[in-house]
């Protein structure tokens, strides 16, 4: 027993009492600095507006802990960095727990209750685990240094697309310095820990309970052998241990003190952000609270505390920067930089004891920390940023909140303003008369039921583009013919239908969205049906996720799942397999927003097509550029458009015949991009509906397809 109790961690041995006292004073000072920093941060968040959190606290806590432990969000699309981070995380966490349990025994349990557990086999096993944890930590850190120093992935370049070289906040070298300081600090803490361990072994080599168990700390033991090899004796080892002990201890305490003031705080803010994550952040935007006098965000304090926490969670990993379609085509927007700008703004304004004057809280503009109009209007609300963020930063709701303020001020492209006024006046973005919404049915050889007059099984919400755009009308007529062929009892709302409002809401025109949603919920309420189907992923998203807030709850599906079922039930049969080499573009609102990844692919397989995926597919699908109201805003002349960028990606597939889409706006955007990129004639853009039609020539050909 006594032998076992002697096998333990050497702490303050041979320290004069004054030095031990000094260490405690410094330790408490570091904790005080940490606590004050935390207080300042919490005070900053509390200066934000109230936030409503989605879901219960325990499931959110469970989800957060699971993500922190499995690192699933950190390793997506960058497994090497994710793996290295996992090594650092587990290494650091184990070492921290190790140190914390020593404190627990030495300063709390033993003095108060006489409980000791840090000895014998427990100590030895722990010692081995911590030694290996240190290896993991250092290996992870070294990879991160190689990555920053040599691999240099473009997403880690802090140059901003919304600033010019020479601007004070263009490429922010202070970020690079902080990144390197963080890596070096951790590396030095880890490395000196090992040398300290080795020095202690050399110093106490004469003590059997220390020396004979040294291989339980293999790295320390190896280093000790090396130190002895270069001639270090017990006395030298003791001196080295004394010096290094202080060095290691002081930087470790410094590290703790610095956590709330540096990027190190992400260890807490990221966990907080993950815990308050809203799984439908971009799919279901928040209404403007009745109590709020002015819509949207004008001042930094108009953000909710949750959004302010989001800002601090950002680790500058650059995944959103990499995924953003606006950034990819050179638009002045990087979701990363919106977040970092606002974070700097919050840091400058909300961390002082007294809140600055209201005029200094305005986040709109071009000064450092502010967000420019052009940046906000570049966003397609495609959700690529929200989807990939490893720490659950919700960029899209933040951008839409900022846009709401711009809309209120009328600060937008004149064409967008005109379109919004048109939608208000006519209920559609084409400026067509309401009565003409169902005009496409006239070309069909059969009548389409008015669901307001007679009950139907399936209510088809057609949407603006499918109703009015001449090219899409042909697809719409084809879908009607397919439904008729399959014997589906369906109807539409005719002039009772209005623009679904999905994109109006994402523009930030919440008042108009409310008018549209109320009108559609009322129209749907006047009809009798079992379920809703739509060919438009934008309408699908808002009806599915947002209409429930307006009292409209309906089972709704995208046409791809309905067609898939009709095939499965034998109500539609492929008679002429297509044998095309196709690629498929996941629409943002079907794929990323609503996980409708499988049905379109299964339809293509059913039709006999060979599907070749593009590099950016499924959750990483690349937006066509039409979302968030951008379809109503002209793209700047000369530059590349997202749809062109995407078509070029498809054009690299050898022997591609068909670029398949399942969204009316995609059809419009990509047929245009096919022409403007000079790929016309090489392959074609087709709606899956058109491919289905081609694979099963209808018994009674519909007049519209001649």
């Amino acid at each position: 027993m006594s032998r076992s109790e002697a096998v333990t961690r050497i702490l303050f041995e041979a320290f004069p009492a004054a030095e031990v006292r000094l260490f405690y004073v410094l330790g408490l000072a570091a904790c005080a600095a940490f606590a004050y920093g935390v207080y300042v941060q919490v005070r900053k968040y509390r200066r934000g507006a109230p936030a409503a959190l989605a879901g219960g606290m325990w499931p959110r806590l469970g989800w957060m802990i699971a993500r922190v432990l499995d690192h699933r969000t950190v390793e997506r699309r960058d497994p090497a960095a994710g793996g290295a981070h996992r090594l650092i995380f587990y290494g650091f966490t184990l070492l921290f727990i190790g140190t914390a349990t020593i404190t627990l025994q030495y300063d709390i349990l033993e003095p108060l209750f006489g409980v000791r557990f840090w000895y014998g086999r427990f100590y030895l096993v722990f010692s081995l685990v911590l030694d290996l944890a240190g290896v993991a930590l250092i290996a992870g850190l070294l990879y991160m240094m190689v990555r920053r120093g040599w691999l240099k992935p473009p997403k880690l370049d802090y140059a901003r697309p919304d600033r010019s070289p020479g601007d004070p906040d263009f490429d922010r070298p202070q970020y690079r310095r902080e990144d390197w300081a963080f890596l070096w600090l951790l590396l030095i803490i880890g490395a000196t820990g090992y040398v300290l361990e080795a020095a202690r072994l050399v110093w106490l080599q004469g003590r059997a309970d220390v020396w004979d168990t040294r291989w339980w700390s293999p790295v320390g033991a190896l280093l000790a052998a090396a130190l002895r090899g270069v001639g270090l004796g017990p006395a030298g080892g003791g001196a080295l241990r004394h010096g290094l002990w202080w060095f290691h201890g002081l930087i470790a305490l410094g590290f703790i003190a610095l956590i709330p003031y540096t990027k190190v705080k992400h260890v807490f803010t990221a966990m907080g952000s993950l815990m308050v994550r809203d799984p439908l952040a971009a799919q279901r935007l928040a209404p403007i609270p009745e109590s709020q006098a002015a819509p949207g965000v004008a001042a930094i304090t108009d953000f909710t505390w949750k959004q302010l926490l989001n800002l601090d969670a950002c680790t500058r990993c650059g995944r959103c920067h990499e995924a953003c379609p606006a950034r990819a085509v050179g638009a002045p927007l990087s979701p990363r930089d919106v977040i970092l700008s606002l974070r700097e703004f919050a840091h400058a304004t909300l961390e002082s004891g007294t809140l600055p004057a209201a005029a200094e809280l305005n986040v709109h503009g071009k000064s450092p920390g502010q967000v420019a109009q052009e940046t906000l209007w570049s966003c397609r609300t495609c959700m690529a940023c929200v989807e990939i963020c490893p720490v659950a930063v919700e960029h899209v709701p933040i951008i839409v909140q900022l846009r709401r303020k711009l809309v209120e001020d009328g600060a937008m492209d004149p064409l967008l303003a005109k379109t919004l006024a048109t939608i208000h006046k006519t209920g559609n973005s084409f400026g067509e008369s309401r009565r003409r919404r169902g005009a496409w049915t006239k070309a069909l050889p059969f009548p389409v039921k008015d669901a307001r007059r007679e009950p139907v099984d399936v209510l088809w919400f057609v949407g603006d583009y499918a109703s009015f755009d001449p090219r899409n009308q042909k697809v719409t007529q084809t879908f009607a013919a397919l439904l008729a062929e399959a014997g589906v009892d369906f109807g539409i709302l005719y002039d009772g239908e209005s623009n679904a409002g999905n994109d109006v809401r994402r523009v930030g025109e919440e008042g108009l969205y409310e008018v549209l949603a109320d009108a559609n919920v009322a129209a749907l309420g006047s009809a009798t049906f079992n379920r809703v189907v739509t060919t438009d992923p934008h309408s699908y998203n808002t009806i599915r996720n947002e209409y429930p807030d307006f009292g409209g709850r309906y089972p709704i599906e995208h046409y791809t799942t309905l067609l898939e079922r009709l095939f499965a039930a034998g109500r539609l049969k492929v008679t002429q397999p297509l044998r095309y080499r196709v690629t498929f573009h996941d629409p943002c609102h079907l794929g990323r927003f609503n996980q409708g990844y499988e049905a379109p692919r299964q339809l293509l397989a059913l039709l006999g097509c060979e599907l070749v995926e593009m590099g950016r597919c499924r959750s990483n699908s690349f937006c066509c550029g039409a979302g968030g109201g951008r379809i109503w805003i002209p793209d700047p002349a000369g530059g590349e458009k997202p749809a062109q960028n995407r078509i070029k990606e498809a054009a690299a597939i050898p022997g591609l015949q068909v670029y398949a889409v399942s969204c009316p706006k995609d059809l419009t955007m990509f047929e245009d991009a096919l022409k403007t990129t000079g790929n016309e004639g090489k392959f074609v853009v087709r709606e899956i509906i058109e491919l289905v039609r081609e694979a099963l020539p209808l018994a009674a050909p519909a007049g519209a397809h001649a």
Binding site: P295, G410, A421, K425, E509, G511, L512
Partner: protein, 265 residues
Amino acid sequence: MKILVAVKQVAALEEDFEFRADGRDVDGDFLVMDLNEWDDYSLEEAVKIKEACGGAVEIVAVSVGPPTVDEALRKCLAKGADRAVRIWDEAMRGSDSIAVARILAAAARAEAPDLLFAGVQSSDQAVAATGIATAGFLGWPHAAVVSQFTYTPGAATAVLRRELEGGLLHELEIRTPAVLTIQLGINTPRYASLRSIKQAAAKPIELRTLADLSLNAAEVGEAGSSARVRRMYVPDKGRAELIEGSAAEQAKRLAAIIRESTGAA
């Protein structure tokens, strides 16, 4: 400082429409009503003057018409008008531009503004007389088709530019109070968010009658108008045909058309 902005609610045709039983106008069921496009610009010009001087300017939107016109006036309130005045009396029905000008002049005397803005014309009737006729009744200086305007509230004169034919510009200095008809493109009218329109719905719209403006029934409506619509109709359409096919086929078809139209067939 006060600016009176005279606005009109104009009608746009639906795709298919029918005429009224008396044949003098389109049946109201087939009309989509909205604020006249030119008035968007004249209101914006007034709001810009107000914003530039920090707000010591009162903008009053005024319109002649039945209660349905309130919608257009609300839009003006949403876009920055401080007050809205609707002038109506059943006797005013059928007023032509000159009669409307007489009514507006009476309203201007009551309001005593420093400036009166009107659109160059209305998009539905396109008479382009109301604004200048109002200046005539008031005996105020006036300028038509203004494409640039500079005025500091309180100043005795304003400087403006008008576009003339042949790319010429006319720069004028004008004494106030004055009447100006504003051209499209002088500014970029702001967007009135639905939220601001809803909030404007809570603001009152002041009603003025014949008696309020000391007018009598004979001065307004058809009685006070010097022109009367006889009928409104769709002219017979001319014919057009796109000739397709090879050169020989096109020539053959062309020859047939010529023979047909000269009666030689």
